[in-house]
Subunit: 362 residues, 2 copies
């Protein structure tokens, strides 16, 4: 068992069990004699993997039958364009909720294809960020869709509720919180997520889309950016990122063995409660910039009251086996990302370190 | 050492040395304590990998300084759209050479963005396919670019010369022959290649582009499809497919240790000469459908004179450790793909099997 912990925001820590299995199977996958990465995607071996991984994800997330699951190459940034290109009607009007850097990236890309209305933005109270309640939002009933980012990795902000957009399809970039807690898929039109946090390795994106939203995209859309083409071809229109898909399949199987999403939700809540609880009790040394109601369970952004100590904190943390705690380059400070693969022992180790560090440097 | 051989067209066989190194480093890459797939792409560890792999590729292919190398997520099919979206000027006119199914896919996508002229097509002589000489082509001097596919995996057709397009940039889909033999990069405007044949695993595409061709794309181009954005950000505009990039870096290092592209060119010629030589000497049993001057070194398409024996051939070949010899679903018959990772011993084993099979079933 590894005794070191990776708090990086992504590409992020993976379950050791998954890595060991990948290691074991590297030269001989399922007695084929080959590595998964050497296997043609249209053969029976990979097709079986593809079907099983989709079935596992459907089971884990309880995905209704009227939703398609698409496995795509690339990161979630592909979806910043694919969503407007595929969902815009003649109106080309969408509402976006801006809660941070990832929302803004989605907004900038959508603006290139149509009219974007910002329905709501992160607000602040006593310098603490929070997500404004929906009764303050300005939603358009005739929008083609509403887009939001349930969890913002950089600001460490998370929705703990799902917006109600009535008949307007709700699109969610769940990259950094998918599979971290149960969600009701039928509240969403599209859910998408890059894999490199809770699913596996970078270079794979999963799209869960309600069937009635699958239609011909805007005319100049690249073929690979068409949900319809990708769905009609079961994600095999061209060669998919087979090894990344394989790692995802191992993660899904691992999650099932561990007790599924409900179990991870409990663990994630415990981990987050511990870390936020500690920070709140040590405000003379550590600061979290988010109101409790909007705090992210996955990404805890924090900083030192005396930020000249940040580099020392990072250096000493690494010596203690606590890696990649540096805040995003656009935000500074510190950040502890605690996705599903982060064991509670990792958070305990971090708290011990923070306690020691505060004692020494207070 | 594995004693089995994978003749699949891709995702294809990888060097055993590379797989063993990946296996060994799966849980601890370069003493980081982490798998490469758990490492953030902007940290020093991965940045070093990215820089080194680009330097190795530049050395292997002798890429001039006025060319950028871009590592992109997804397969070469992304380029079918990116090439026209980025190279079309106001004229929106391009010449395409149609030598098979991959050419046709590129043509279909380009037609969606502008005017495509077919400058040449595969021809036939006595039922044998060949690539017509350039003096029969109809090239437009005012085309924005000329696109061709130096090697067609499905038909088993390959150019053994480079078209001369004067001042019109030449764009080549080298997916199935990159790094198989020396090429003069400065004869090309853009070279692109999906990784799953001679470079590594599926989900990565490499683009080598002459700097003067990097400009703002057509206005509706998705941001990730802009060569300019990708080049300006050193392929780090968003999270790249880090593990696929890592595998590519191992393959490049392996190629250098083996003697570089010139050495592989010799090996590939020997392998191809052996197999074609054998087929030509046994025309009473095996058929190759391509004129010698246009035969692919990478993908040998062949069939049995009595094609009712094809399934038996495939079944018995697998028992002999010779895998994935089935022809492409659109072509039928048989196909032996022999990329750089296929050792000569694999081709010898195939020849022995073919000899035995012919004896038994003649």
């Amino acid at each position: 068992m590894r005794k070191i912990y990776n708090f990086g925001a992504g590409p992020a820590m993976l379950p050791e069990e998954v890595l060991r299995q990948a290691q074991e199977e590297m030269l001989d996958w399922k007695k084929t004699g080959w590595s998964v990465m050497e296997i043609g995607h249209r053969g029976p071996e990979f097709s079986e993997l593809a079907a099983r991984s989709e079935a596992d994800l459907r089971e884990l997330m309880n995905i209704p039958n009227n939703y398609k699951v698409i496995f795509l190459a690339g990161g979630a940034s592909t979806q910043f364009a694919m969503v407007p290109l595929n969902l815009f009607t003649d109106k080309k009007k969408a509402d976006y909720v801006d809660t941070g850097i990832w929302s803004k990236k989605a907004i900038e890309e959508a603006k290139r294809y149509g009219q974007v209305h910002i329905a709501a933005q992160t607000a602040h109270q006593d310098h603490l960020a929070y997500i404004p309640h929906q009764d303050t939002w300005t939603l358009n009933v005739d929008a083609d869709y509403v887009h939001y980012t349930p969890n913002e990795t950089i600001g460490g902000i998370e929705f703990h509720w799902v917006p109600d957009t009535g008949d307007v399809p709700l699109v969610a970039d769940m990259t950094s919180m998918i599979l971290s807690r149960p969600i009701a898929v039928n509240q969403f039109g599209i859910i998408y997520a890059g894999a490199q946090k809770n699913i596996g390795q970078a270079g794979l994106t999963i799209v869960i889309i309600r069937e009635d939203l699958i239609k011909d995209p805007l005319p100049y859309t690249p073929t690979l950016y068409s949900y319809k083409i990708q769905a009609d071809n079961q994600s095999f229109y061209n060669t998919p990122p087979t090894y990344a898909w394989y790692i995802a399949s191992l993660v899904f199987a691992w999650m099932k063995r561990q007790g599924g999403v409900a179990e991870f939700a409990k663990r994630n809540k415990r981990k987050a409660d511990k870390l936020y609880g500690y920070i709140d009790q040590h405000k003379d040394f550590y600061i979290n910039p988010v109101l409790p109601e909007s705090r992210s369970q996955m990404n805890v952004a924090f900083s030192l009251l005396d930020d000249t100590l940040t580099d020392t904190f990072l250096r000493e943390a690494k010596k203690a086996g606590l890696y990649f705690l540096k805040g995003h380059r656009l935000a500074g400070g510190l950040r502890a990302s605690m996705y599903n693969a982060m064991p509670e022992a990792g958070v305990d180790a971090l708290l011990n370190f923070m306690e020691e560090f505060a004692k020494q440097h207070r």
